[in-house]
Symmetry: C3
């Protein structure tokens, strides 16, 4: 257990937890057992003799809003800003300079690999990989094990993020190639490899992904499905 | 270290371990370091001030049979029932109301996301994702990073599980779409996206997956391969 | 915290760490919080009453070279040999009899599942799965969530590793089928399912993967991309 004297802890701890630097944990929030919050970036660690005390000195802390829940075995880096009523699953990694909006869910084992912007009321299911420079709007749904990339010609010197606009739905185990824009309300089928921009309100499927129907048609099928038809 | 007074601990602990509620750990079983057993569901936690003592009070516990091994950094929720001689890898998450039969293996980093039925002598390799409502028979083999889904039109209000019957083999990084049935002895190739039922003893491949041969033909190729041909 | 008396610890510890057997941690190396180094193989554990003291007695230890960094929540088995200036991400699992060369990076949540040879200056991104018998050369780049397999007809009695030669690039969420050789400088596109050998300096894409261009053509496109064209 290590709780920084610089931290503002208004939430509760499940058990053995590490909170580093001037981290702020909002009222009614919970930190799961074996989690680390405010972990310093490598640039900071390189120059020093490592220990939680030394990390605490260099960490700029993370901010977690009210009524949020960071479950066990997770690591939240410094300069992460998590909103209110955010829930993360177990074993989540959220690296530096990431912003996560109110009401968003981040599923178990998901990696948000730093410098990512995620909106409000986003549902990120388990095992997603979201690299630096990704931008995700509001009310987006990411099914399990979506893999987003940020380099079209690895390993290059240029990172180019994927932008996913509001209300989009991304299917399980799909791959989104660096630099594409997924339009507002677009739907990506499970297992798709998306190599080009997806227009708004368009459903794409396959490898490489191609348009197959409109969002309206998808929503009609969804309604039938929900009725059990 | 937190060991519930309500728990029946006949197994051994590697080190720092958390056991909550009336959990039962069978004779000869091992709990790995940094594991949590009997973790309460969110519904229970919401109403209370979180701490291991408070969780212990509300947890209904988990049952782990004789001679089983839960490896380090794993989380087992309340109302999970794990049989005898079950082995799980490191960093496994098994959520509530899951049943796992005797002799089954659950690979490292795998997520069994609650309300799942898994039979006996199943081999689940590393990094699988198995969502609520999934049903897996006996002697099934799931290769690494299989992703199973439970919603055909996400994010809908209807969950529809995948059923995998006895003796089926599911290839690495394949995706099984919500609601399909994988017949007894069927084989799914690596990387396949399976959108329809797979008939018994049938091998399917591709995106979307299509039949390519019978299980008999597969088994003959397998024998040749095992002979090194 | 458990530090074997048999271990040679010249590096530093972040906090609660377990080091078992005659492990060697080089000068300037760091072990992250909640990591376990020198974890014994199952064969060793089966015969004994488990505890860190008992594990310490049977463990053959792991070797980690100078200036390396094993981040939090990771497990390194006995008989692993990690070189100098190696960095691993959080929640990594590296099983027994694995060799990792100097300057290599192993991304967060990656599983190296034992008996794997990895060269120097390899970049393994997050969430990779690398099974027994895999051989990876020098300067290879593995994008996030690559899945490598080692059994062409699971579940067979014959494991046949994938060989990836120097300078190869493997795209995100691709699957490499057991037994294939990825030639020197070859490039595999994201989401590909690679069922056959890939010739040197050849770019392959798709399911199943097919050649689409030369490495020279790829490198020209990469240069244009890096210039922002």
């Amino acid at each position: 257990m290590f709780l920084s004297k610089k931290a503002s802890l208004r939430g509760k701890l499940e058990g053995d937890v590490t909170v580093l630097g001037p981290s702020e944990i909002g009222e009614g929030s919970i930190l799961g057992i074996y989690t680390v919050v405010g972990y310093p970036t490598y640039r900071k660690i390189k120059g020093i003799s490592p220990s939680l005390e030394a990390y605490d000195e260099v960490s700029e802390g993370a901010v977690i809003g009210e009524s949020s829940f960071i479950r066990s075995h997770s690591v939240i880096y410094e300069r992460v800003r998590i909103g209110k009523s955010v829930q993360t699953g177990h074993g989540v990694l959220i690296r530096e300079d990431t912003v996560i909006g109110d009401g968003t869910v981040v599923g178990s084992h998901t990696i948000v690999d730093g410098r990512v912007n995620i909106g409000r009321n986003v549902s990120i299911q388990s095992g997603n990989y979201i690299p630096p420079e990704s931008v995700i709007g509001n009310n987006v749904f990411l099914a399990p094990f979506v893999v987003i990339t940020n380099d079209r010609y690895p390993a290059s010197r240029r990172l180019l993020g994927v932008h996913i606009e509001d209300e989009a739905v991304v299917g399980a185990n799909s791959v989104l190639i660096s630099g594409i824009k997924v339009g507002r309300g677009a739907v990506i089928g499970a297992g798709a490899v998306v190599t080009k921009d997806v227009p708004p309100d368009t459903v794409v499927l396959g490898v490489p992904a191609r348009p197959v129907m409109s969002r309206d048609a998808y929503d009609r099928k969804k309604e039938e499905y929900e009725r059990g038809a």
